[in-house]
């Protein structure tokens, strides 16, 4: 469903992505991990065209993201994205946050959008927060609203960009629980994260990146069993020893 083929990207002189290739099939959950600055977030933002890239191709459901002819807003409306810092719209209520894309992009009637939003809030356990503003919610609650906002568009795939790294430890699980449930329902997901417990539990494959390159791309069992590269081994030993 998502195919990344020989992608190269430069920020001025600095090459952030080097010849990256991988693919994600329908219903697959792929975790991307690696040290900070390795290009994980940049790669995931290339998938929905938030970051341009200079060489290579990325296709989502057969549509080429880098093609100038591609209707990016249309493409993005089918791909949900969840950000590290939630990025809820602070001037809108929770309900308005979830409803905006539905009414302005999908053209749903406000009443229909609201019904759908309430359903999604129920799913992430936040129905009683519907009329609040994001600043009145905890980080974990905000991130669950952000997931609901993405799901409201009925996406064919979800991108998660370090969804738990800005959260206090006690709130990480409430977000991971929602993501695990989503994965088990068969959602196609690319998740940039350091949560190796999550990767073990639901990921089909793990992609390990370092210095802009995809160093490992393997099934979850193989990755945690016998990572082939020294770099991945030392990364794993560092984050798994606690």
């Amino acid at each position: 469903m998502i195919a990344i083929h020989n992608v190269n990207k430069w920020f001025d002189e600095f090459q952030v992505l080097k010849d990256c290739s991988t693919k994600v099939d329908k219903g697959e959950v792929v975790v991307i991990c690696g040290p900070s600055g390795s290009g994980k977030s940049t790669l995931i933002k290339c998938v929905n065209g938030l970051e341009p890239f200079q060489e290579g191709t990325i296709t989502v459901n057969g549509v080429s993201v880098g093609d100038k002819q591609t209707n990016l807003p249309e493409l993005r409306s089918h791909i949900g994205m969840v950000f590290q810092n939630f990025e809820l719209f602070p001037h809108m209520t929770v309900l308005e946050n979830i409803g905006l894309g539905q009414t302005k992009v999908l053209g749903r009637e406000p009443s229909e959008a609201e019904a759908r939003s309430m359903k999604l809030l129920e799913r992430v356990g936040l129905t009683d927060q519907a009329s609040k503003h994001p600043a009145q919610l905890s980080g974990g609650q905000q991130q669950r609203v952000a997931i609901a906002r993405a799901l409201a568009m009925d996406p064919i795939a979800m991108l998660f960009d370090e969804p738990t790294s800005a959260l206090d430890p006690e709130m990480i699980n409430e977000v991971l629980d929602v993501m695990v449930e989503l994965a088990q329902e068969g959602m196609t997901m690319i998740v940039v994260t350091h949560e190796m417990g999550f990767a073990r539990k639901v990921a089909d494959r793990v992609v390990f990146m370092d210095e802009g390159q995809i160093v490992e791309d393997d099934t979850t069992d193989a990755f945690f069993g016998t990572p082939r590269s020294d770099r991945a081994q030392s990364f794993l030993s560092k984050i798994l020893q606690h």
Binding site: K45, L72, P73, R76, F83, F89, P90, A150, M153
Partner: protein, 219 residues
Amino acid sequence: MFEQFDFHVIINAMPILWDGMLITLLLAVVAIVGGIVIGTVLALMRLSRFTPFSLVAGSYVNFFRSMPLILVIFWFYFLVPMATGQALGGLSSVLIAFTLFEAAYYCEIIRAGIQSVTRNQINAGLAVGLSYPQTMRYIVLPQAFRNMVPVFLTQAIVLFQDTSLVYVVGLKDFLTAADLVAVRDNRVVELFITAAVVYLAICLAGSLWVKKLQRKYAL
């Protein structure tokens, strides 16, 4: 100086002062609303990646910020009629001059406000499938305007007081009217104190109203 303070002078002057106040308010409201509308367009142009847009808007701002307001008024009152062969008249001249002049300042305020909204917020808007103009309209501008409110207030107060410059083209704004009566009746103390009190009251009321707005729409 104050022992002969005569309130009757003020009461008698009310109709003239009120006419002056109408000019002052008309000018202030038109220049604020027009300035914000044109300023928003200029700010979007200035931030545009399309170079001709940003160049035009940048030049506009630099030009008007370099000119004293009074010179801009002279331009529209004296020079534009010479160029077009058609006199604009005092009121039209100052309405146009004030609006165009203020637009340059509002442009810079709005540009700063837009830039105060993070790239990630824009990404979040784009990620749900909004187009760039929609993201501007629903995500960026509402947040930008909230951040700008205090600076808007300062700018509005400065503008409100600057309206007294219209005396140069023979218009009677509030302060000019007060001055006229003061000289005519030889009642400088009464009129100038009244003028100060009125300015103070209006600016104070404006500040309080903005504070209330801010509290209501606090993020």
